[in-house]
């Protein structure tokens, strides 16, 4: 399957709702995430909707190097999401701490606090990279679902 048809496929079967969470970032990645929703990049054409509450979200999109104050709230928001849930980290700071790696008030990356499904590096990650990352994550999910579905079919005969 070509990339385009793959994309259209999962867009049909899954319309991921995301919640955005800033863990102490400089805001550059956050602006690029919101820019990804504006007309030029238009993440909404993939069915991605930005939601306000974690209870409705499938994917949490995190930016920022995770300051100490934020850590308990990040954990709590993750716990409140219903499974299956995925964590996408945007920006080098969220991946590994970025330029703030080793600073005293910083945990150095989201994966120090919650398990991460996809890393989108960049300082900041451009909207194109963000779309690419989310699409890749969801394509990989579709493959997993297809594999699981095939397995079930085999089992059930």
């Amino acid at each position: 399957m070509s990339f385009i048809s793959k994309t259209i496929n999962w867009a049909r079967m899954k319309s991921p709702w995301i919640i955005h969470f800033n863990t102490g970032a400089c805001n550059a990645c956050d602006i690029e995430i919101i820019a990804a929703l504006t007309p030029r990049y238009d993440l909404e054409r993939f069915g991605v909707l930005l939601k306000g509450t974690p209870r409705h979200a499938d994917v949490i999109v995190c930016s920022g190097p995770v300051t100490k104050q934020i850590t308990p709230r990040l954990k709590r928001i993750y716990d409140q999401m219903a499974s299956p849930k995925f964590v996408v980290v945007v920006g080098t700071c969220a991946c590994s701490g970025g330029v703030f790696d080793g600073c005293y008030n910083v945990e150095s990356g989201v994966d120090a606090v919650i398990p991460v499904s996809a890393y989108i590096p960049g300082c900041p990650a451009s909207p194109k990279a963000i779309i690419d990352g989310i699409v890749k994550l969801l394509s990989s999910l579709e493959e997993k679902e297809t594999k699981a579905a095939k397995k079930d079919k085999k089992k059930n005969g």
């Binding site: 955005h20 969470f21 800033n22 863990t23 102490g24 970032a25 400089c26 805001n27 550059a28 990645c29 956050d30 602006i31 690029e32 919101i34 820019a35 504006t38 007309p39 030029r40 306000g52 509450t53 974690p54 209870r55 920022g64 190097p65 300051t67 104050q69 934020i70 308990p72 709230r73 709590r76 928001i77 409140q80 970025g98 330029v99 703030f100 080793g102 600073c103 005293y104 008030n105 910083v106 300082c123 900041p124 451009s126």
Partner: protein, 407 residues
Amino acid sequence: MRKVIIPIGPQHPALKEPESFQVVLSGERIMEFSARLGYNHRGIEKACEERTYIQDIYLTERICGICSHSHSSAFVQAVEDIAGLEVPKRGLYIRTLIGELERIHSHLLWLGVAGHEIGFDTLLMYSWRDREVVMDILAMLTGNRVNYGVNTIGGVRRDIDADQLKQIAKAVDTLEDRTKYYIDIATKETTVIERLSGVGVLSHDDAIRLGAVGPTARASNVKRDVRKDDPYAVYAELDFKVVTDSHNDVYGRTIVRMGELLEAYKIIRQIVKKIPDGPIAVKAPRKIPAGEAVSRYEAPRGEDVHYVKANGTEKPERVKVRAPTLANIQTVAKMLEDRQLADLPIVIAAIDPCFSCTDRMISVRNDGQKRANMMKWEDLHTYSIEWYRRKGIDFSKVNEKFKKAVK
């Protein structure tokens, strides 16, 4: 008078919630407001002491993603002062150009965010679409949309050619047309005027007493602008005016920012015309001689102050940063005094705060209640729009009108 705010959103009654804002209401009126800051405290000043000057340029750039060039320029200016370096004119012109482009992208961003906070989402979409014009120019000149990395100690790292200058001039023409339309909307649409007027009032005297900076102060007729008062880069050679307004409210802040956009276009046109030939940087020593300097820069949000102390090594002894939002946040309590809760989102948005919009938690307590209810920013945003809709302020018709008129 015993109206209780119903909380929606993530909270666990047993765990202590590190809320950012605390509001005490009597009915719907705000009696007390206080902010707990520090969520974005990453320990940058300490980190600056542990890194070299060149590394610190990139670190200070990331203090804030929207005024990144402001912070790195302020830092670099202080270091150049200590080392006694004279940056070549062309380098200064390029630094100023990027600074003004940053101001444009920041104000357009603010316009969109303000539109979103009052329920005028079409404005968000259109102003951010226009902002992409500026982002393209910045990406063309510096290689990145944000965090340009264009400063170095002694000048700038990238030069511009004649063709790029032509493109900048063209982009400025397009943006000026669109900005004039936004100004039209702000000054003629009654819904917008009603929604923004009389909200977030800060008198002239209070603005001075509380130490407001930037557009927040200028909208209260405080004529302070570091570009004019304490000129840096090439501002002393450029012709522009300091935009002030006497409405003292969020409407005034909108007018000031729109005015500054027009001035920015004027400045950029002058830069494109007057930029001299020559080198773009002087060589800087790795070890900066002992000394100290204070550098002030007019970031889009207001006065940014950097203090640097050098000790003769390749790492600074002390770097102190005072970002403009820290000065303005202290005026918010005054602006919210005796106002209703529904005004909180736009009042805070109007100082153009440089902390993230989505992780703010608000603790709302009513007079006589012992425990506070927690609201997420999103909930307050929805509450605010609903409150005004019940009063007849609704942007759905304006949205339609806007879409038809803007191409």
